[in-house]
C-alpha cells in the first residue's frame, strides 16, 4: 500500500479448528484517503495444503464474490481476458509451505474496501503434533491487528505451543493462550504502538510466521470417532505401540550433478540417519551414478559394528557418472527379495526403499514410465518406496507416481543450507512404523462414501483418518473394527461409536460444528481422489478426476481441477476484468522455482550464466 494515502484499518486472521479441520478467514479493511481513485492491493499467504473456499471484496456497498468453476471453463474466460490484456492469475507459489494470493482493485477517493479470503484444510499429524501456520506481512502498522485461533478437540488437548518468528521480548506477553480440557484459545493483538519497529520509524515489527503446534490426547484401542450431522470421522493413532523393525535400503544418487553442496549435505544427513538406526533394523546402502555400487551384497543388522563400518563407507561417498535410477532401485528391490527369501530378515518387519536423487534418469532405462512399470513389477506392491527429489532438476511427478504405486510417498528436498535437516526430518517421519496393513472396518449397511480405509503403515507421530457418510441419520451407534500387524502379534481392536453430544462438550458453541465434519470428509475425499487421478489404470484415473471435480464444485474448494473466478468492479471505461485463483500443483511450484533459480551450486557464483528462455546453438569467431 501507499502509506501516505491508504490507511489499513484492520487485518484479522480468524482460525477455527474443529477436530483437526481448520477454517481460516483473513479479513482486511482499508481506506483510500486520497482525493483520487487508486489501486489497493490485498496480498496474503496460505498453506499449500489448504483449499481456498471463498473470497469476497466489498467496495462502495457492493460485494463481489469469487465463484468456483471447473478449471477448463474458468480458463476459457481467463484466456479471453488475457487476449485483451486485462487479467492475471491470483495465486503464486511462495516458499516451501505457502502460496500467495494477491489481488488489487481500484478504489474511489475516500472509499473503503474490505477483502475476505477463506481457506480450509485438514491438519496432518506429523512427528507428534499438528501445526497451524499463519504468515503475516501487513507492510504497515495497522489500527486493528489480530490473530485469533480457537481449537476445539473433543478428544482433549494434550498441549498447545504458540510462537512467531517476529516475536520480540516485548511482544511475547501479548500472545494470549487459554487451554482447557477440550478447547484452546490463542490470540495476538498488538496495538499500533506495539507494532512499531523502532521509536523513530514507522515500520512494523509484524512480519513473519505465527505458528501454533498442538496435539490431542490419544485414544487407546480403536481410536476416536466423531459423528456429526450424518457424517463421521475416525482418528486412529493409539499410544504405546511398539515399533515394528524395518529393513531399509538407501539408494543414493551420486551422479555428477550431486557434486558439491548436495553431496556434502547428503553425506551429513546419511551419517546421522545411519547413527540413528534402531538396533532391530536391517539396512543396506546403494550408491549410483552410471554404475551401481553396493556397500554389501545383502542387508546388515544395525549393530554398532556394522554402523561404524557403514559410517566409514558413507564418509567416502563422492560424486561420479550420470543417473541410472532404474538399475539402482531394482538392485535394492532384488536385495530385499533375496534376503527375505533366505530368511535373513525378521518375519514381522517392513521393507522400505528410500531413494534420493537430484536428476532425471539418463543412463540405462531413461523412460520414466518404463521405470515405474519395472519397479512396480519388481516389488509386486510388497514394499514401500519413498522418494526424495533433491533440487529442481528432477521431475517431481515421476517420483510421486513411482512412490505412490509402491506404498510410499515422495518429498521434495529444497536446495538450501538446511537440506541436511530436511533429509533427516523426512527419515524421522518414516523411521518408526508401528503397524502394518491397517484395516479400519465399519458396518456396510451403516456407512457409505468411505474415504480410504486401508493403510500400508502407521508411523509413529502420524495419524490415520477415515471419514464417511452415515446411511442412517438417526443412528445411535455403530461398531468399528481395526486390524493391523504389530510387532509381535496382530493388532485387533473393536469399539462402538456414538454421535457426539456437542451441547454437552461445548454448551455455548454448538453452532461452530455445523458442517465441519462433512467438509472434512469432502476435503479428505477430494485429496484422495486427486491422488488416484495421478496413478493407476486409465479408467480409474478418469473416474477419480470426474468425482473429485464434482465434489470440489459442490463444496466450493479451489483444487487443481477448479478455479475461482473473481470479477472486479467495472473500470471507468466500462470493462470488467475477471481474475483467476488457481490451486498450484507441486509440479507447477517446482517449475516456478526452476524459472527463478540460478545455476548449479557446484560451481562458484561468478559463473552464473545469462538466462535465456530457449536453447541456442551457435558458432562464431573468437
Amino acid at each position: 500500500t501507499n502509506e501516505a494515502t491508504v490507511e489499513v484499518h484492520s487485518v484479522t486472521v480468524d482460525c477455527t479448528v474443529t477436530s483437526r479441520f481448520a477454517r481460516t478467514v483473513m479479513t482486511s479493511v482499508a481506506l483510500n484517503k486520497a482525493n483520487t481513485s487508486q489501486e489497493i492491493f490485498f496480498e496474503v499467504e496460505l498453506p499449500k495444503t489448504a483449499f481456498i473456499t471463498n473470497f469476497s471484496m466489498e467496495i462502495e456497498g457492493r460485494v463481489y464474490v469469487g465463484d468456483v468453476k471447473e478449471k477448463e471453463k474458468a480458463k476459457k474466460q481467463y484466456e479471453k481476458a488475457v487476449s485483451s490484456g486485462r487479467t492475471a492469475g491470483l495465486v503464486k507459489a511462495s516458499g516451501r509451505k505457502m502460496e500467495k494470493f494477491s489481488v488489487s482493485v481500484n478504489i474511489a477517493a475516500k472509499s473503503n474496501v474490505t477483502f475476505i479470503l477463506t481457506h480450509e484444510e485438514l491438519l496432518q499429524r506429523k512427528l507428534g503434533h499438528y501445526e497451524i501456520l499463519t504468515r503475516v506481512k501487513p507492510k504497515t502498522r495497522v489500527q486493528k491487528f489480530q490473530i485469533v485461533v480457537n481449537i476445539y478437540e473433543p478428544q482433549g488437548i494434550l498441549f498447545v505451543d504458540a510462537h512467531a518468528t517476529f516475536l520480540s521480548n516485548d511482544l511475547l506477553p501479548l500472545v494470549e493462550k487459554t487451554v482447557t480440557d477440550k478447547k484452546a484459545h490463542v490470540s495476538f493483538s498488538p496495538t499500533m504502538e506495539q507494532q512499531r519497529k523502532c521509536p523513530d520509524c514507522d515500520g512494523t515489527l509484524i512480519d513473519g510466521d505465527f505458528i501454533i503446534k498442538y496435539d490431542v490426547n490419544r485414544a487407546k484401542s480403536f481410536g476416536d470417532i466423531q459423528i456429526v450431522n450424518g457424517y463421521f470421522v475416525h482418528f486412529f493413532a493409539p499410544p504405546d505401540l511398539r515399533r515394528v523393525p524395518k529393513n531399509v535400503v538407501f539408494v543414493i544418487d551420486i551422479s555428477g550433478s550431486m557434486y558439491g553442496t548436495k553431496m556434502t549435505q547428503t553425506r551429513e544427513a546419511m551419517l546421522q540417519i545411519v547413527k540413528d538406526l534402531h538396533e532391530d533394523d536391517h539396512f543396506a546402502l546403494i550408491k549410483f551414478g552410471s554404475a551401481i555400487y553396493t556397500w554389501r551384497d545383502s542387508l546388515s543388522k544395525a549393530t554398532q559394528e556394522n554402523i561404524t563400518e557403514a559410517i566409514n563407507y558413507v564418509k567416502d561417498i563422492d560424486s561420479e557418472g550420470m543417473t541410472n535410477i532404474n538399475d539402482a532401485v531394482l538392485r535394492g528391490v532384488a536385495m530385499l527379495i533375496k534376503d527375505r527369501k533366505e530368511k535373513k530378515l525378521p518375519e514381522r518387519s517392513v521393507d522400505i526403499i528410500i531413494l534420493l536423487t537430484d536428476g532425471m534418469p539418463n543412463v540405462g532405462e531413461s523412460n520414466t514410465a518404463k521405470i515405474q512399470e519395472n519397479v512396480l513389477s519388481a516389488t509386486g506392491g510388497k514394499m514401500s518406496l519413498f522418494s526424495l527429489g533433491f533440487g529442481n532438476d528432477v521431475d517431481y511427478s515421476f517420483l510421486d507416481v513411482l512412490s505412490k504405486q509402491n506404498k510410499g510417498i515422495a518429498r521434495r528436498i529444497y536446495e538450501a543450507s538446511d537440506a541436511t535437516l530436511q533429509l533427516q526430518g523426512f527419515y524421522d517421519e518414516v523411521a518408526s512404523p508401528l503397524l502394518l496393513e491397517v484395516d479400519l472396518r465399519y458396518p456396510d449397511n451403516a456407512v457409505e462414501m468411505l474415504t480410504t480405509n486401508h493403510f500400508s503403515q502407521l508411523f509413529n507421530g502420524s495419524e490415520i483418518v477415515v471419514a464417511g457418510r452415515l446411511t442412517d441419520n438417526d443412528l445411535d451407534n455403530f461398531m468399528v473394527d481395526v486390524m493391523g500387524q504389530g510387532l509381535e502379534e496382530d493388532y485387533k481392536a473393536q469399539g462402538q461409536a456414538s454421535p457426539v453430544k456437542w451441547t454437552d462438550i461445548y454448551p455455548d458453541e454448538e453452532y461452530i460444528f455445523g458442517d465441519f465434519t462433512e467438509r472434512l470428509w469432502a476435503y479428505l475425499t477430494i485429496q484422495q481422489l486427486l491422488e488416484k487421478s495421478k496413478s493407476g489404470p486409465a479408467d480409474e484415473k478418469e473416474n477419480a478426476t470426474a468425482k473429485a471435480l464434482d465434489m470440489a464444485l459442490k463444496y466450493s474448494f479451489v483444487t487443481p481441477l477448479t478455479s475461482m473466478v473473481v470479477t472486479k468492479p467495472e473500470t471507468e471505461d466500462g470493462t470488467d476484468s475477471p481474475l483467476i485463483a488457481d490451486k498450484l500443483t507441486e509440479e507447477q511450484r517446482q517449475q516456478a522455482e526452476r524459472r527463478g533459480y540460478h545455476y548449479m551450486s557446484a560451481s562458484p557464483p561468478m559463473y552464473t550464466p545469462t538466462y535465456h528462455s530457449s536453447p541456442t546453438y551457435f558458432v562464431d569467431g573468437d
Binding site: 555428477g256 551414478g289 545455476y599 548449479m600 528462455s613 551457435f618 573468437d622
Partner: protein, 239 residues
C-alpha cells in the same frame, strides 16, 4: 570458430572450438528427413599474427532446403538466394526484407541476416566487420540457430546433433591451469572428459563486445562431446 550449446533448462552451456586448415568446409546441420543442410567454410587470418596463433572463422555458409527448393549462399560480401527458379542477390550494405512463400529474409545493414525457412528452422547469420586494413584479421560470420524444434530426430552435424538436447553431468570441480577457470570431469555419451569452466561470447545483442556466456569447454576440437571427431564433418562442397 567457437561452438556454443546453451541449455536453459539446465541453466548451463557447453562449448568447444573447431579449427582446421583454411578452406575446409564443415557440415553444421544436416536433416535428411526435411532436406535441410547448412555447411560452412572457414578462412584464416591474412597472415600469422605475432602471437603465432592462426585464427580461423567461418566466412561463407551454404544453406539448402531441398523440399522447399531454396538455396542460400551467405558470405562476408553478399547474400544470394535461390528460390522460384531464380537467384536474388542482397547486399550487406542495405537493410532489406524479403518475404517469400517458403522463406523470409531480413537483412539488417552491415549487421545480421535473419532467415526463416517455412515450418522448419529459423536462424541468424551475424556479420563481423573488421577494419579493412587490419594487418591480420578479416571479416567473418557467426551462425545462430533460433528455432530448430521442427527438425527431425535424425538431424545431425556439428550443431544439429545437439538440437534435441544432450545429457551430461559434471562433477569433481578442481583447480585448473588458470585460477578463474577450474577443471572438472564431465560424463557425457558414456565417456569421462576433462572440461574447463570458461566463457565464450554471444554477439547477438552486442555486436562489438559480445556477452560472455559461461560454459564447460571441451578440449581437442570437442572430442568426446561431438559424435566421432571433427574430420567426420568435413564435406567437399558448400551445397
Amino acid at each position: 570458430p567457437h561452438f556454443m550449446i546453451e541449455l536453459p533448462e539446465k541453466e548451463d552451456a557447453l562449448c568447444f572450438n573447431i579449427n582446421d586448415r583454411p578452406g575446409t568446409i564443415f557440415s553444421l546441420v544436416t536433416d535428411p528427413q526435411s532436406g535441410i543442410l547448412v555447411n560452412g567454410q572457414i578462412i584464416g587470418d591474412k597472415k600469422i599474427p605475432p602471437d603465432g596463433k592462426m585464427n580461423t572463422y567461418f566466412w561463407r555458409f551454404g544453406i539448402v532446403h531441398q523440399t522447399l527448393g531454396v538455396r542460400l549462399e551467405v558470405n562476408t560480401r553478399d547474400i544470394s538466394v535461390f528460390q522460384d527458379s531464380k537467384w536474388v542477390k542482397l547486399l550487406w550494405s542495405d537493410s532489406a526484407s524479403l518475404k517469400g512463400l517458403n522463406v523470409d529474409l531480413l537483412v539488417t545493414k552491415e549487421r545480421s541476416l535473419m532467415v526463416t525457412l517455412k515450418d522448419s528452422v529459423k536462424f541468424v547469420v551475424l556479420l563481423h566487420k573488421v577494419w579493412e586494413k587490419h594487418p591480420y584479421h578479416r571479416d567473418y560470420l557467426g551462425f545462430y540457430t533460433l528455432d530448430s524444434h521442427l527438425l527431425s530426430p535424425a538431424v545431425h552435424g556439428l550443431l544439429g546433433q545437439f538440437y534435441h538436447g544432450i545429457e551430461y553431468e559434471v562433477s569433481e570441480l578442481r583447480p585448473g591451469e588458470v585460477p578463474e577457470k577450474p577443471d572438472a570431469t564431465m560424463f557425457v555419451k558414456g565417456q569421462q572428459l576433462n572440461v574447463t569452466r570458461g566463457w565464450q561470447r554471444d554477439f547477438r545483442r552486442d555486436m562489438k563486445n559480445g556477452e560472455n556466456v559461461p560454459c564447460w569447454f571441451v578440449h581437442n576440437n570437442g572430442t568426446g562431446l561431438i559424435d566421432g571427431d571433427a574430420t567426420d564433418y568435413v564435406v567437399s562442397g558448400l551445397f
